[in-house]
């Protein structure tokens, strides 16, 4: 999964140097060179406009310095038709673009923080229907969405703490049957937080770690948290064995709540979260891979859907501006997947084991989730800020 660098918008360029002087290195004299030469003092100075349609430019950095980004923008200076991030010294890369007729220019961001702009040129020719430019999102909007998202996680965290307290109390009292009942709601609280990859840093290993890579497997002392407790509760381990496990889990959960205000989560993570939570669900829950005996993968998946819902809700207005169709279709498909999963929740609150589903039932779930992922994966790209190599100190 790519992690995008922090952004500076196109609007904040410190200086615009138009028409920087650069000796042309055009090849061939026929008129339609597609070579774009960029440097820290010039940005496609004498580029030649192609005809409308698809063109593959070759963008070449002739200097010993990295050019942070090169973008081909429309007349509005904000619609990006093609971009390259981090063009290393003395390298060249293809830039494949589809251009309708109109005015275009190249923007280059240099290491010194300048934005250079090429001369504007007119692309002429027949209309083009399949151009897909995007307008970068104002990073501040994503920051606001992140604040909303964090606010929406707080009640879930508090519920997680309360539910885990109850679970640990039951284990401590030796009431293991009750603990088996209390384990699920607490684990589902955690699953709703939508932890994907390293979101909560070391807390995730403490709270929801798996025995992968541990020499002792499920018996390794480093295996702890919900899944460790699940293993014990569903494999007949004694209360005395599980009490310290539950106690440590409870302490970790309290620690997470306490640390949460200070946990830095990069804003760019939110748009990634919109699809990565459910990527993990497909990989770990719909395969049953994480099951340690409770057979509750479908419940976990349902909670992951709810967690993805929190991310989408936080992104609602920014996505609605950028791509309302995508917002509508992902919201609808997410709701449908949630309802499909809910149909496997029994009236008594227990869940149908994944392993007991028929081929047909598995296919429907897998299809609904993987079809949704083909849409959710667009969100990070659709909501990206303007290209930049990152903060220059």
């Amino acid at each position: 999964m790519s992690r995008r660098g922090a952004a500076a918008s196109l609007g904040v360029c410190a200086l615009i140097v138009a028409g920087a002087i650069l000796v042309a290195l055009l090849t061939g004299g026929g008129g339609h060179s597609t070579r774009i030469v960029v440097s820290d003092s010039g940005c496609g100075f004498d580029w030649v406009a192609p005809h409308s349609g698809r063109t593959v430019f070759t963008v070449q950095n002739t200097t010993p310095k990295t050019i942070y980004s090169v973008a081909l923008v429309g007349a509005d200076q904000s619609s990006i038709y093609g971009q390259i991030e981090a063009l290393a010294p003395s390298t060249e890369v293809p830039l494949d673009v589809v251009l309708p007729p109109g005015e275009y220019s190249f923007l280059c961001q240099t290491k010194s923080g300048y934005t250079l702009v090429s001369p504007s040129r007119e692309v002429t020719g027949p209309p083009v229907a399949d151009a897909h430019p995007y307008k970068p999102v104002d990073p501040q909007q994503i920051d606001f969405a992140m604040l909303d998202y964090r606010a929406s996680l707080l009640p879930v965290l508090r519920r997680l703490v309360a539910d885990t307290d109850r679970l640990a109390t039951a284990v401590h009292a030796g009431k293991l049957a009750e603990a088996r009942t209390l384990w699920l709601p607490a684990h589902l609280d955690y699953a709703k937080l939508g932890v994907a990859y390293d979101t909560f840093g070391p807390f995730n290993d403490l709270i929801n770690g798996r025995p992968l890579g541990l020499a002792g497997g499920v018996h390794d002392p480093k295996f702890q948290g919900f899944l460790r407790l699940e293993y014990g509760l569903w494999h007949g381990q004694a209360a005395a064995t599980l009490d310290p496990v539950a106690e440590r889990l409870d302490a970790s959960v309290h620690g997470l709540l306490k640390q949460f205000p200070k946990l830095a989560i990069p804003s760019g993570d939110l748009t990634l979260r919109a699809h990565e939570i459910l990527e993990n669900t497909l990989q770990f829950e719909f395969t049953g891979e994480t099951d340690e005996g409770s057979n509750t993968n479908l419940a976990t998946a349902w909670s992951n859907v709810k967690g993805t819902g929190l991310a989408l809700t936080a992104l609602h207005s920014v996505l609605n501006n950028a791509n309302p169709e995508l917002l509508a279709s992902t919201t609808a498909q997410l709701g449908r997947l949630g309802r499909m999963l809910e149909s496997y929740k029994r009236p008594d609150g227990r869940w149908v084991p994944l392993q007991s589903l028929t081929i047909d039932q598995r296919e429907r779930l897998d299809g609904a989730l993987s079809g949704l992922l083909e849409q959710l994966d667009l969100i990070p790209d659709q909501l990206q800020p303007a290209p930049t190599g990152g903060n220059d100190d």
């Binding site: 339609h32 597609t34 192609p50 005809h51 409308s52 349609g53 698809r54 063109t55 593959v56 990006i80 038709y81 093609g82 971009q83 293809p94 494949d96 673009v97 589809v98 251009l99 020719g125 027949p126 083009v128 229907a129 399949d130 151009a131 897909h132 430019p133 995007y134 498909q333 081929i359 047909d360 296919e363 429907r364 897998d366 299809g367 609904a368 993987s370 079809g371 949704l372 992922l373 083909e374 994966d377 667009l378 790209d381 659709q382 990206q384």
Partner: protein, 428 residues
Amino acid sequence: MTDQNERDDEQRCPVGGLSRRGFLGLGASAGVGALAASSGLGAVAARASALPDGATKTPAIQAQLQSFEGAHQAAILSEPTQATAFASFDVLTESKAELKDLLRTVTQRMRLLYQGGLPTNLGPASPTDDNGVLGPELPSQQVAFVFGMGSSLFDERFGLAKARPARLTQMESFPNDNLDPAQCGGDLSIQICANSSDIALHALRDLTKHTRGAVIPRWRLDGFQSPPRPSGTPRNLLGFKDGIANPGTADPTEMDDLVWVKAGSPEPSWTAGGTYQVARIIRMLVEFWDRVSLDEQETMIGRRRASGAPLDANDEFSIPDYKADPQGAVIPLDAHIRLANPRTPATAENRILRRGYNYDRGLDSNGNLDQGLLFTCYQQDIQRQFVATQTRLIDEPLVDYISPVGGGYFFCPPGLNGKDDYFGSALV
């Protein structure tokens, strides 16, 4: 694994010289088509021709364009390619309109994959349309497809019951079969044929991506065709030349009699020009087979292992003379080739067009090699042809060394009527 008439070599890999007309008419969203229609083509074409290109010098997959626009899916008659990917899919869409979109998309992707060229540019705010497995530009005319529909597609979901091809059923389990339901059946079948496995797998990944959520793969099997060793018909993993005898694909009358569905009762009219596909995953118990003496192997098959000749002749293409051997003294009465094709006037109408591929997919739970045959065959009537043949083969001595574990029956619709047509257009 059945044995029939003379092979014909005439269709082996003719070189195609097709223009790009095949995709010019596709809609704007069709990427490669839009590229060709746009005036940026000049720059792109210049770049394309500069590629150190194996693709344009490789002979085209034969006759594939005709399978898109012609009476039949031409890839059915093509000789097996070096690599194949066979996949069965279940349809997940819930309405006839969505099914129509799905069938259009599948057909359109097949056209694009066949045609090759630069993949669609989806712009800087989307993951790329193509997976990159074949590099920045797709080779042209290097992949072929056979598209089929299973009987389950004609259930109540889409209101297609009345249009069900008359001879299309679920695959039955024969005595000695060991079928795994997870490797059987399916609403659709797609066989991808190419001369290298990366091209076949690229196409499979493309088709699954662009249909995700609307279908889900149910089972799949990759296969390969061995080169002639040392000459003649390629060998299967029992070490025997397999597919020596087949109906003559260059003989339109024979194809009309054996392969293509004819118009008229009991078949619904849309099926004319189509054919029935039988796919069987036949595991070969190769370790056991290798512990059997050559004599016994040859007696079971009815051919010499080294040459492929029937036991009563010297040449692989000789026709066995069963009349001269009524007691089976030379070719036993229960030899595979004799049961499969007794070469009598009465059994002539049972013949099938076989298109087998070897497969190899790891180990079983005992550490034995999981190898065998991806058997496919085409016929006008599954009962009259495949089932009749397979019924004769019940309890043949070879059954101890093979184990059919999966497969399905599918109907392959006729070819497409023009560049805007799609598979199943007569149904939805």
